[in-house]
Amino acid sequence: MELAIGIILGCCALGAGMAMIAGIGPGIGEGNAVAKACEAIGRQPESKGAVTTTMLMGCAVAETTGLYALVIAILLIFVAPNLLVDILVETIKAL
């Protein structure tokens, strides 16, 4: 029983860590977006406002995939262990 609960907790933590590998993608993407925005502002300083707004929009959209991973990681840390342990306890009782 203790072993099973330990495995559940450990695997939830591992899964949460692995889910956050997805953070690499938005990091690189947003970095590229900001770099290009800096170039554009350097070339045309008068278009700073429009470039900044568009860049923030693009960053927010690019961030979405990272946020999916974050939501899954948060669910795995705070919600999944209780749920899975409850299921385990009920299954063992039923046996």
């Binding site: 923030l56 929009m57 927010a60 979405t64 946020l67 999916y68």
Partner: protein, 297 residues
């Protein structure tokens, strides 16, 4: 300058009180219902009570109460800002009110075109509700936008609007749009259609939730750090988490203020872009012209 009458001042004071009172009410409610805890607790919205319903119990949660607080605050702010408005500008607040209206009108005109110019009240309503809801975390309240149910409600509302404008040329035209560019891509198009509200809801909710989780984690980490670093101080100073003073506030500028307001702006912006993008303007004009020609004959 001009002298305000006593009656005007009393009404003003009433509006300002009504702006502050809901927030005080929320804080009192939180203090009364929250048991004092050691360390960090990251939980969802508390459930105050349940109303029995035939299918499923209807839960009155902290997030619903707090979004009602945000609504009341915005309502009385609007009353305050438009109080004593006149053609000949007499009050400073009228400049501010006109600035907001002009900015939003320009934004909607720029992004949606003149056909949707009546949409600016809806857009500013979504923006204000989302922004004020996120900023409630500055008062220590639970921000309603970090509850998926609230944000998903807004996203579904926007999805209904998008679908309504896509159907402006009739349901057949709407269904035909799924088979483009090739017919066998229709399932993918359907998934893409459903992904719109889900991604909108998750984007807003994930950003606000991650902000509050990170600030809670950081606060507890600073408490531990100050206990181990400053434990040699004499007397009661050793027990006080001195590093927790001030440092979380600096991070809160990014995590609560900037992130919350940016997400409000982006939610409103995406609403505008999706609604305007889903509307087949050329086809609609063509059909309208054809109808008009038919009616003439």
């Amino acid at each position: 300058m001009n002298t305000k009458s006593l009656r005007f001042k009393i009404v003003d004071a009433f509006y300002i009180t009504m702006m502050i009172l809901p927030i005080v009410f929320g804080i009192v409610l939180k203090v009364l219902t929250d048991p004092p805890t050691e360390g960090i607790t990251i939980t969802g919205a508390k459930i105050f009570f349940e109303i029995p319903m035939p299918l499923q119990n209807f839960l009155i949660t902290e997030s619903q109460v707090n979004s009602a607080i945000a609504l009341i605050v915005i309502f009385f702010f609007c009353l305050f800002i438009t109080h004593g408005i006149s053609e000949k500008i007499e009050l400073k607040r009228q400049h501010f009110a006109e600035l907001i209206v002009e900015k939003v009108d320009n934004l909607v005109e720029e992004n949606m075109g003149s056909y949707f110019s009546a949409y600016s009240p809806f857009i500013i309503a979504i923006m204000a509700l989302s922004g004020v809801s996120s900023l409630l975390s500055l008062f220590g309240l639970f921000p309603p936008t970090s509850d998926i149910n609230i944000v998903a409600g807004w996203a579904i509302l926007v999805f209904i609007l998008i679908t309504y404008y896509k159907m402006k040329c009739g349901p057949l035209y709407y269904l035909k749009a799924f088979t483009e560019p090739v017919a066998f891509l229709a399932p993918l198009n359907v998934i893409g259609e459903i992904a719109t509200p889900i991604s909108m809801a998750f984007r807003h909710y994930g950003n606000v939730l991650s902000g509050s989780v990170i600030s809670a984690l950081l606060c507890s980490a600073l408490g531990g750090l100050s206990a181990s670093l400053l434990g040699w101080l004499p007397g009661f100073l050793a027990d006080m988490p001195l590093l927790q003073v001030g440092i979380p506030a600096v991070l809160s500028i990014y995590l609560d203020v900037f992130s919350g307001l940016l997400q409000a702006f982006i939610f409103a912006m995406l609403t505008m872009l999706y609604i305007a993008g889903g509307f087949p303007a050329e086809e609609y004009e063509k059909r309208k012209a054809r109808k008009r020609a038919k009616n003439k004959n």
